[in-house]
Amino acid sequence: MSLIRIQDLTRRYVMGSETVHALRGVSLSIGKGEYIAIMGPSGSGKSTLMNLLGCLDTPTTGTYELNGTNVADMDDNALAEVRNREIGFVFQSFNLLPRSDALHNVELPLIYAGVPVDERREKARQALTNVGLADRTHHKPNELSGGQRQRVAVARALVNNPSIVLADEPTGNLDSRTGEEILALFETLSRRGNTIIVVTHEEDVAQHARRIIRIRDGLIAADEVNPNPRAAMKLESAQA
């Protein structure tokens, strides 16, 4: 039983008099617990695919079944609920709320899910502990290093136990050492059964995944198993 099943997905944008075919018919199936990299140069349609996978956008045609429900023609509010429940985002630029401390940032998905305050504090604290930031709960994003910020973002992505962790260039704004830390964190998560999709244009990053999907001109150019995924260097700070 696959977690994600996509059939003939297309997405067109109308820009003035021009119609841009960002996706031209993509079919894909992703199982639970997979660690996947989606690769492609800019303009290939990988961002569009990521937006569709993350339920931030709806396709022009085609079907998208997530966990057995068709989300292709849901409205705005229903999609918001799906995002809240099923998807944890990790962005290139972290996208933390600058005025809130780490704990509150991680709490956010639970607030929108309507979790009572005591329970969500506890869960958020646990999630921060899991990414090795137990002692940084009350730091604001600008008081944290890039790697720490991204780990807060990972904690936020995981706090609601989503079906998928969707990471968009998660190491793009980090130096290579810190980037490795984040990738190591993903490996740990993957080993524990989380489904992880990393969108990237860096071959190095993609090589950590166990399956690599290459997008070109709005179509899947290749979909192959990575025979020997590269292991991220061990790190001490993220005890998991």
């Binding site: 931030l56 933390l96 998905p109």
Partner: protein
Amino acid sequence: MNLLTEFKEAVVIAWAALRANKMRAGLTTLGIVIGIVTVTLMGSAIAGLNATFKRSISGIGADVLYIQRFAWFMSESEWRASRNRRELTRQHARDIERLSDMARAVGVESNGNGTVEFERRRARGVFVAGNNEHCLDVRGLSLTAGRWLSASDVQVGRPVCVIGSYLAEKFFPFGGALGSKVKLNDMPYEVIGILEKQGSFFTGANLDNQIVIPITRFTDNFSRWPDLTISVKVRDPAQMENAKEELTGILRKLRRVAPDQPDDFAINQQDALVSFFNRVGGTIAAVGLFITGLSLFVGGIGIMNIMFVSVAERTKEIGIRKAIGAKRRTILVQFLVEAATITFLAGLLGLAIAWPLTLVVDRYLAADMPWWLVAVALLVSILTGVISGFIPAWRAARLDPVEALRAE
């Protein structure tokens, strides 16, 4: 439950946003503060006027019918038609006393203005009341010293008077008023009683600057053409309408009004004054609140403007929140709460400014700030925030998450 959580979160966010932009929030608030101050002051002036009016018309007893030549409120044509009515006399009053079952006491009154002197002290513009022995009861007065006019005082027109507390203090600061003779328009009157302090009428007249003399004296010495008012205190206040009918019948018979002719007299009562005041006061209140409301409206536009800026600045944040699972409603509530928080704080500030101002105004004009006015002012300020924040909040709520996330 869910909405409550969202609401709490929205308050936290709003507070943080305001603290992050103190200067901007403060300046925007100013418009609303001014609006709330003017509206509240207007409201307190109206409330003060109402309260004073209510206090002063209690002097015009609700259970008293005033039989007079003219109605209190007449159009010009009505006045022209009734101009030649015959006068009311003391004989009418005596006949009413004899014939009416519903009257408890029948007073005869006429009023004027005069100068009162005692030795070298002088009071001008004194309210001079010609009364009969029943007026103490009818007018609902009480005495602090001495006695009221007796039936024989009125009968024979004795030169005696009852003076108001203001006159008593002015002329007799060390006591000894009773038995002394004051001069009213150069005629001497012996003081036989002192009235209890009453305060001023809503028109500003000082009711304690008053002298009461027998109505017979009044008609003989004071005014050649007195316009008598027969004031009838009704036994049962629930029977005002019936009493009015009875009196109408009696008077028509006494004055021999033909059945096909209209009444040649008027029976006035407090109601007429109240309804007149309500009409006039209502108009003043509506116009005044409308004009002051304009300043609130201008303040509201300022809020709308700043909320548009706030939404534009935080497009990215909106995108993040939506990606994480915020629904349209959540974002809408967040920005509405932010706008309402600004205006609520402005309302509090406005009230804090308006309250001492009310006290100052109260020294010159009646002004009052009852608790309901405070509640209304705060409610209005919150509403202003919600209304003027709605369009910006709605725009924020409808943002496309992909677009919003792309914003910097």
